[in-house]
Structure formats: structure tokens, C-alpha cells
């Protein structure tokens, strides 16, 4: 469908928020705590954070929670009864204040969760989620969306994208999908007709730093490079990068057993951990950190484009910001591009 462009007055945003709440939608929006912005269910408009470049974590948690319970079981004597996932529990959810580099990630996740097996739980959550994103008017040294095919005003993945027109200005609302239109229908008086607006001049300037296609090609012959060891020497082996990433989707299936009852759930995993994909035999296919780091980069820039035709990086820069050892993915990608094989 064609993108519809509307104008939303700056003080109409709160009204829109209230209407969403009145329509019994759960609204997740960025909230500040301990100086970090993160997505939380929000009850009132005033608690939504305003001044942030990027949330610490991506909003993927709303659709791909860090713990997703698949089933409960109960053993009765020698019999076992199972209660599967309750799809009724997935309610209409609005994601408010997402950045374009996050929304684009939902497409990536969608590819991962549907490339062969269709993950119904993921799909149920995604289909019930309405994404109201806000384009970026600020960026920092960590941002590189433009190098990986995105841009600060990209509408990809959004249902409605809002762009703030000037420091104290009103908002341009680009209604991208039917879900977006449904929202407009709920509060049509707030979405005014508008003349053509040059939104680009209100967006942050994020220069292109590398060519991801070049990197992909380079990586085909880069598996044995000493760069992996050099880059990862300071990596401490935590999972922060994967957990803040909008596209990392590795998980582990765990049982939580309590005698006769218990449940099975999906928990986030990270290739940063030394125990990542350790075999029961004790064999560890990636026994040192450099191999795990290589897996991370190769997965995002080589394996995924090859298999899913999408890149596993949106250029949000979260992993670099979160890294306790200051591993900067942008720097490392540039140096990969520069190294001669």
C-alpha cells in the first residue's frame, strides 16, 4: 500500500496515547531508570522518556521475550498432562517510540523465526503488535544504520513512523500499514492532512562508514584470519552484546522442574558465552573467545545474508555501547574491510 502522510500536532501525541490506552492496548514505551532508557509497559504519557538517542535494549523483548514459556506439565502418578502455550494470553500491544533501526530488526527476526519452521508463538506476538516508531533527529558515534541499508527516517517495519519537525515542532506521521491505518481510524481527528514535508532535513546525519556487501564478500575468505584473535582479545565473554541486539535470536530450551509439575521455556542465549552450544559429550565447537566472536560477525554478515537474504545487523550500535570491554563493532567491521587478505 501507499504510505499516507499526516500531520500530528505535538500536543496530540498525549491524546493519541490516551486513546490507545482507552482501547485496552498495552503500550510499551521507553522509560528512564538509573540513567538508562528501556521499554516498559507504560500507563501514563508523562512517564515516557524523551531525551534518548537509543534505548539500552532493543524492543525485541516485546515479541521475543527473554523467557518464553512454551508449556506447563504435570505428572500424575505415571501419566503426564501437558498444557500448551496459551495464545489467548497474547494481547494487542503497541510499541511506542521505537527507532527505525529497531523496527527494521523485526523483519530480520521474522525471517529467522519463519525460514523453515514457522514459530507460531513469535508470529502470534508479532501480529498482535503495532509499531509506532519515531525517526532519529540525533545520533552518536556508535550509530551506523546507513552502512547497513537503513536510515534515520526509514519506514521499514513500522506501522506508523513519526518524524519530529524541528526542535519544538509538530510530527509528520507516515502511516505505512493497515495496522497503522487502524490506529488512525481510532483517532482520526488527531491525524491532520498535510502538505508535502521535506522530512530528510529533520533527520540525524549518519555517514556511511563501510560497504556491507564488500564485507560479506571479504568474509567468505576470512574464516582463518588472525584478526579474530586480535579483535577478541579484550572480549570478556559476556552476553551483553547479544542481549541488547535487535536481531540476535539464539535461544536455549530449558525445563523448570518442581517435583510433579514444571514448565518448559525458551531463554535467550549468547554466542559470547563459553558454554554456548557445548555438546553433552563435553566437546565445545567454539572453545575459545575468538571463535565465538567470529561466529557473531560471520553469522550477521555472512551466514544470514547467504541463507535468509537479510543482514543480521541494523547499525543501532547497542552492542558497542553496552560492551563492558569497549569492543566497538563499527571499528572492527571497518578494520575487516581494510585488511588485505
Amino acid at each position: 500500500m501507499n504510505i499516507e502522510r499526516r500531520l500530528v500536532r505535538k500536543d496530540s501525541l498525549e491524546k493519541l496515547f490516551d486513546i490507545l490506552r482507552q482501547n485496552k492496548k498495552t503500550v510499551f514505551a521507553p522509560v528512564m531508570k538509573n540513567g538508562k532508557a528501556s521499554f516498559k509497559p507504560v500507563g501514563s504519557f508523562s512517564s515516557i522518556a524523551e531525551d534518548y538517542i537509543q534505548t539500552t535494549q532493543s524492543s525485541k523483548e516485546v515479541i521475543f521475550p527473554r523467557v518464553e514459556k512454551f508449556l506447563d506439565y504435570e505428572k500424575n502418578g505415571k501419566e503426564v498432562s501437558i498444557k500448551g502455550f496459551d495464545y489467548q494470553s497474547v494481547t494487542e500491544t503497541v510499541l511506542w517510540g521505537v527507532r527505525p533501526c529497531d523496527t527494521i530488526g523485526f523483519g530480520t527476526l521474522n525471517s529467522i523465526f519463519n525460514w523453515d519452521f514457522k514459530d507460531e508463538i513469535f508470529n502470534a506476538r508479532l501480529s498482535k503488535t503495532i509499531i509506532l516508531s519515531f525517526s532519529c533527529n540525533k545520533s552518536d558515534d556508535y550509530c551506523f544504520c546507513t552502512s547497513v541499508g537503513g536510515n534515520p527516517g526509514s519506514t521499514a517495519g513500522s506501522d506508523i513512523l513519526f518524524t519530529k519537525l524541528g526542535a519544538d515542532g509538530d510530527y509528520l506521521a507516515e502511516v505505512v500499514t493497515e495496522k497503522g491505518q487502524a490506529i488512525v481510524a481510532l483517532a482520526s481527528e488527531l491525524f491532520e492532512k498535510t502538505e508535502s514535508v521535506e522530512k530528510e532535513k529533520f533527520l540525524a546525519n549518519v555517514p556511511v562508514k563501510f560497504n556491507q556487501e564488500e564485507i560479506r564478500k571479504k568474509l567468505e575468505k576470512f574464516f582463518k584470519s588472525s584478526q579474530w584473535v586480535e579483535q577478541s582479545l579484550k572480549c570478556l565473554g559476556c552476553g551483553a552484546c547479544a542481549f541488547v541486539c535487535p536481531t540476535c535470536a539464539c535461544f536455549d530450551i530449558q525445563d523448570d522442574a518442581h517435583g510433579k509439575i514444571g514448565s518448559r521455556m525458551r531463554c535467550w542465549d549468547s554466542c559470547g558465552y563459553s558454554q554456548f552450544t557445548v555438546h553433552t559429550s563435553g566437546h565445545n565447537p567454539r572453545s575459545v573467545q575468538s571463535q565465538r566472536w567470529r561466529q557473531r560477525i560471520m553469522h550477521k554478515f555472512s551466514y544470514m545474508p547467504e541463507r535468509l537474504s537479510v543482514y543480521g545487523c541494523t547499525g543501532c550500535g547497542r552492542c558497542s555501547r553496552a560492551c563492558p570491554a569497549d569492543m566497538n563493532i563499527l571499528e572492527h567491521l571497518i578494520s575487516i574491510q581494510e585488511v588485505k587478505i
Binding site: D72, E74, S81, K83, D256, H258, G259, K260, I261, S263
Partner: protein, 149 residues
């Protein structure tokens, strides 16, 4: 409404308190039936994580008991345990776990009556504190389909 019957788990060493509780039995001293004993070779073996596990699984109170100082069958397990408990208790208190629900005691193999007394007083005091809902709310065990009796 029926009186609240707290679930009490007791972690005891084999040589003193377990034997002491045996003596309580041999002496036919009656005590509250709310307590369930788990036997360890020594208090030194008792992992503090097990105490948290007991709360996770719905215990309302915990008793930890072993040989009096200098009486340890293994000479010093209880001394080690004592230090560990001290630290454990501080941390529990700091994190806000209700330390009134954890009773530490020394009960020797000759103190059958003391064992009965420890159980009874613990049951009474935990009964007064009520179910440990604060912890249970956080532990959120999967809910059982139908409940027995």
C-alpha cells in the same frame, strides 16, 4: 478458617541433630508434625543454596542444626558452617529475606528434648509470621492443574 500449618524443612547433620531427633523419638516426646528432615553428613556439607531452594519450593520456615562447637564428628565442619551461616544470614537480611524464618541451632545426640522444643518453637513462631507469601510471589512456581485435598 483452619489454622495455618507452616511447612518447615530441617537441614541437619547425621551425627548430632539427626541422632538427637532419633532420641526424641526413642523418648516418645511429641512435637509438631510440620517439620521434614533432610539428612547431611555434617553441617559443613549444607549448601546455602539449598536453603533458598526450600523457600523457592514453598517452605515457610527452615531449621538448620548440627553438632555443638567442638563436638563435630569431623572436628570442624560446624565451625566452617557457622561462618558461612553468619555471612548467609547477613546477605539474606540485606536482600530482605525474612531471617526470622530461618532458625540455626546446635542440637546434640543427647538433646532429644531440645530438638522437640526447637521444632515446636519454630512452628509456633512461623505460624505467627504466616505463610511466606513475599517469597512465594517471586518464586512463582508453575500452577498445578487441580489441587489435592
Amino acid at each position: 478458617m483452619a489454622e495455618f500449618e507452616p511447612k518447615i524443612v530441617a537441614f541437619v547433620c547425621n551425627w548430632c541433630t539427626y541422632a538427637g531427633a532419633d532420641l526424641t523419638g526413642t523418648s516418645r516426646i511429641k512435637y509438631a508434625s510440620n517439620v521434614r528432615i533432610v539428612r547431611f553428613p555434617c553441617t559443613g556439607r549444607i549448601d546455602y543454596m539449598l536453603l533458598l531452594k526450600a523457600f523457592d519450593e514453598g517452605a515457610d520456615g527452615i531449621i538448620v542444626s548440627g553438632c555443638h562447637p567442638n563436638d563435630c564428628h569431623y572436628t570442624s565442619g560446624n565451625f566452617h558452617a557457622r561462618r558461612r551461616w553468619m555471612a548467609f544470614r547477613s546477605l539474606c537480611d540485606f536482600i530482605g529475606i525474612d531471617t526470622r524464618r530461618i532458625k540455626f541451632s546446635w542440637v546434640s545426640a543427647a538433646e532429644g528434648a531440645k530438638w522437640a522444643d526447637i521444632v515446636n518453637t519454630t512452628v509456633a513462631s512461623v505460624r505467627e509470621l504466616g505463610p511466606y507469601d513475599e517469597y512465594k510471589k517471586v518464586a512463582k512456581k508453575p500452577v498445578k492443574e487441580e489441587s489435592h485435598g
